[in-house]
């Protein structure tokens, strides 16, 4: 591609709308004498922008003003990029959003500001689109493409040419070719070397293993197409769930990342190392494997059924509208509920918890988040809310989640993570810090107030109680704690002394008493100010 007329159309897309628009505008760009290239923000090298003369950005917004999944990583890099990086770049932004959200088109606004901060020149003002974006986005494209076409090979913008370019386009244009008005160009990448390991399970022999293929495939190929190719050319017995690109049941795990394989390109599935990529494809964890990558979803759906997810609504006052009496809801609550329920794959959300695979009873984040949203829905009847609270407070509810960080790291897990955290806070408050969970959280928080440091000995004693401690004595836990066993720190004789010279606190035995941190009174003051329960 000749650099003198090149145009980059960069898209950040959650549902595919921005990607489709980017492809459409790239096609239209040829009519303006531009050679357009469409690029996904996912895996895009920020520094490669610095040599560009023309860049269009089409970016959607997810949830409460968040960047779409594929833009998040680039945004983080851009946030720490040095100013001046984009000197000489001419740009314009089309932002997609939904006015029912408080932070409308926030991602596009952020990119617009960021490009300017990094030194780029805005040729056409950003346009913010609501859900009905066809006409407004096309108007933006016509202005933006005309302006980009008026940038010469040296990157100089000739404003006086813009009008002439527009007039020539309107006079001569009869619409792009194609049955539907335009033809979406294919996004193509070079072939890359890939080492693809796939989990195999044969139920007839109950054997598991991995098969590995080393091959060269086009980088733009979706993982689903990779699986289809392997099945049709290499091993017809390979089993996986096939379907549309957004079919939630097709979900699999790639290097521990839970994805819909039709939505992920091979080149974006793993980092490029030593000239190639290496991926390990596994079935989603937390589900029973039927064969190879195909998992059984019935258990999750059965749990969902047992959670009684249906609505029992309360009688509410309606609003008189020209369409008749309609129920209404505070937009902030509506937006929050919408975000909690806007899940593109419940199996992926279920698998995002590392605990679901090891706890048969745990409902998992998929059902818990759905129940929590229902619990916070003002349309839900009070009796139904109490029923949901019983489910959330039960041993199979939110308490069964062992580590929220595993949920946070998967895709859009951050929002669900925060919602589940609220759910746990609510459960603990209702429980009054009883039981092991309540005691654990209460004593942990209390020991920090006491000295600024966690006191493991107090925690063990208060949470496990004498029976639990006795159990640890015979299960080897205490002896390993004393001896350090495979760990190497401290002097072993000190650990032995802990047995005969309590209090413990020597060697690797947790201390009975902590020394306070410097300015400990500040910590006490913070607690007194923020939470009188401790």
């Amino acid at each position: 591609m000749s650099d003198s007329r090149s145009l980059l159309v960069l898209f950040g897309s959650q549902s595919g709308n921005a990607e489709a628009l980017a492809a459409k505008f790239a096609k239209q760009a040829s009519g303006y004498g531009l050679e357009a290239e469409v690029a996904d923000m996912d895996g895009f090298d920020l520094t490669s922008l610095s040599g560009r003369k023309r860049v269009l950005i089409v970016c959607s917004t997810w949830g409460e003003g968040e960047q779409p999944d594929n833009a998040e990583e680039l945004w983080i890099k851009a946030s720490s990029a040095p100013s001046g990086l984009l000197d000489g770049v001419n740009f314009s932004v089309l932002a997609l959003g939904d006015t029912s959200y408080e932070l409308f088109c926030e991602s596009g606004k952020e990119w617009d500001d960021k490009f300017e901060q990094l030194g780029a020149t805005r040729l056409v003002a950003r346009v913010d689109c609501d859900v009905d974006y066809d006409q407004i986005s096309q108007e933006w494209a016509e202005n933006a493409l005309a302006a980009m076409a008026a940038v010469d090979g040296e990157g100089v913008f000739h404003e006086e040419m813009v009008l002439a370019i527009k007039e020539s386009m309107t006079s001569g244009a009869t619409g792009a070719s194609g049955e539907d008005g335009f033809t979406v160009p294919e996004i193509k990448s070079e072939s890359i070397s890939a080492e693809i390991s796939i989990f195999r399970y044969d139920p007839s022999t109950s054997t598991t293993g991995k098969d590995t293929w080393v091959c060269a495939l086009p980088g733009h190929m979706s993982i689903l197409d990779v699986l289809r190719t392997i099945k049709s050319t290499q091993d017809g017995s390979l089993t996986f769930r096939d379907g549309a690109v957004d079919d939630p049941t097709t979900a699999i795990s790639i290097n521990g990342r839970h994805v819909l394989p039709g939505n992920l390109r091979l080149e974006s599935s793993a980092p490029l190392r030593n000239g190639g990529i290496s991926i390990s494809i596994e079935p989603l964890n937390g589900f029973e494997v039927i064969r190879d990558l195909a998992v059984e979803h019935w258990d999750l759906e059965s749990k969902r059924e047992s959670s009684k997810p249906w609505m029992s609504s309360v009688t509410r006052q309606g609003l008189n509208t020209p369409q008749g009496a309609l129920g209404s809801m505070n937009p902030l609550i509506a937006s929050k509920l919408h975000s909690m329920m806007d899940i593109h794959s419940y199996p992926i959300l279920h698998a995002s918890s590392d605990a679901t695979a090891y706890s048969d009873d745990y409902y998992g984040p998929s059902i818990i988040s759905q129940s929590w949203a229902r619990r916070n829905d003002p349309r839900t009847a009070p009796s139904k809310k109490r029923e949901i609270e019983q489910l959330l407070d039960s041993p199979s509810g939110i308490k069964a989640e062992t580590d929220f960080s595993s949920i946070r790291r998967q895709g859009k897990g951050s929002f669900i993570h925060d919602a589940l955290l609220d759910c746990k806070t609510s459960t603990l408050a209702r429980d009054g810090f009883t039981g092991r969970h309540g005691k654990h959280v209460w004593w942990y928080t209390f020991t920090i107030k006491s000295s600024g440091r966690v006191n493991d000995s107090v925690l063990y004693r208060q949470v496990l109680g004498p029976i639990g401690l006795f159990g640890n004595l015979f299960s080897g836990v205490t002896s390993r704690m004393v001896l350090g066993f495979t760990r190497t720190g401290g002097n072993m004789i000190n650990d032995m002394l802990a047995l005969i010279a309590p209090p413990a606190g020597l060697g690797k035995m947790p201390r009975q008493f902590n020394s306070s941190i410097k300015n400990h009174h500040e910590v006490v003051a913070i607690y007194n100010e923020m939470d009188g329960r401790f």
Binding site: S278, R409, V441, T445, G452, N472, T486, G490, A525
Partner: protein
């Protein structure tokens, strides 16, 4: 190279070997640490379960202390790095929340946090800042074992893991190779072992820990090197119990990144000799 030092939650109690080995290690690496004597526990993801703003304020106080020193924070604990990073991200991205927290900070401690600090795990400082090429000539005792590197989920998040990949990290594998070891490829390296719920959900946590330990053994590892103080002690202390509950083979030495680095750079030779013996005794 200067940092404000947060040793992690259990370095003063359950994992003293981490705090001990950090002392000679940072000297060898040329890192100057200023101890945050007034730093509280990071909350370990537990305090925020009961009161998120309480944990945010406690950590904002730590950030303000580091900021007043003009330093970024360094910690050898992945759990602490993850929790602090999460709270730092929240405060930096929400000016209204930051103002609210600062109001409490000012009233209770006379402190204010403007957002001018960073949280860094030792691993990322070594690879991104120091550079592995500088570590290689410093190696005195090669770690000539097959090593499974354990990251856990806390630091493997957007913006928390330097330039490493979130789902397919290889910083620790590169480091192990630099130290003379043979990195083992295994799937469980970013899996949680449920450390925040060890005492409250023990049956599930034991299965999680057993699965991670067994995966490392199955892939031929002779030891696990952990980037997390908390997971490190769970994986070691609960090995026997995890095996009893699950029937899986779980016996494998588990050491912290700080320990293995300090051994390789010539510190604690006796301990390293003990570790080598344990690898031989415990190995299949």
């Amino acid at each position: 190279m200067k940092y404000a030092y947060h040793p992690g939650n259990v370095a003063h109690s359950g994992s003293p070997e981490v705090a001990e080995s950090m002392v000679p290690l940072v000297k060898s690496l040329g890192i100057e640490l200023t101890y945050l004597d007034g730093a509280t526990s990071c909350g370990a993801g537990i305090i925020r379960q009961v009161n998120q703003k309480l944990q945010l304020t406690l950590n904002a106080r730590v950030f303000a202390q580091a900021e007043s020193l003009g330093l970024g924070i360094l910690t050898p604990c992945a759990s602490t790095a993850g929790n602090l990073s999460e709270d730092l991200f929240l405060l930096k991205s929400n000016p209204i929340l930051l103002a609210e927290i600062n109001e409490v900070l000012l009233k209770t401690c006379g402190l204010k946090f403007t957002g001018d600090t960073s949280v860094n795990h030792l691993l990322h400082v070594i690879v991104d800042e120091i550079g592995l090429e500088k570590i290689k000539p410093m190696v005195v005792n090669p770690i000539d074992f097959r090593v499974a590197s354990y990251y856990g989920p806390n630091i493997q998040q957007y913006g928390f893991c330097g330039d490493d990949d979130i789902y397919d990290p290889n910083y620790m594998e590169q480091l192990v190779q630099t130290l003379g070891g043979e990195p083992v490829s295994w799937d469980s390296r970013t899996q949680s072992v449920g450390a925040p719920s060890l005492l409250s959900e023990e049956p599930t946590v034991l299965k999680q820990a057993a699965s991670v330990l067994n995966d490392a053994k199955s892939e031929g590892a002779q030891m696990i090197v952990s980037a997390c103080n908390l997971s490190h002690s769970v994986l070691d202390i609960y090995q026997g119990k995890a095996s009893q509950r699950t029937g899986l083979r779980t016996n494998i030495p588990v050491v912290h990144l700080c320990e293995i680095l300090s051994f390789a750079l010539g510190h604690y030779n006796t301990r390293y000799a003990q570790l080598r013996t344990r690898v031989l005794v415990i190995g299949d």
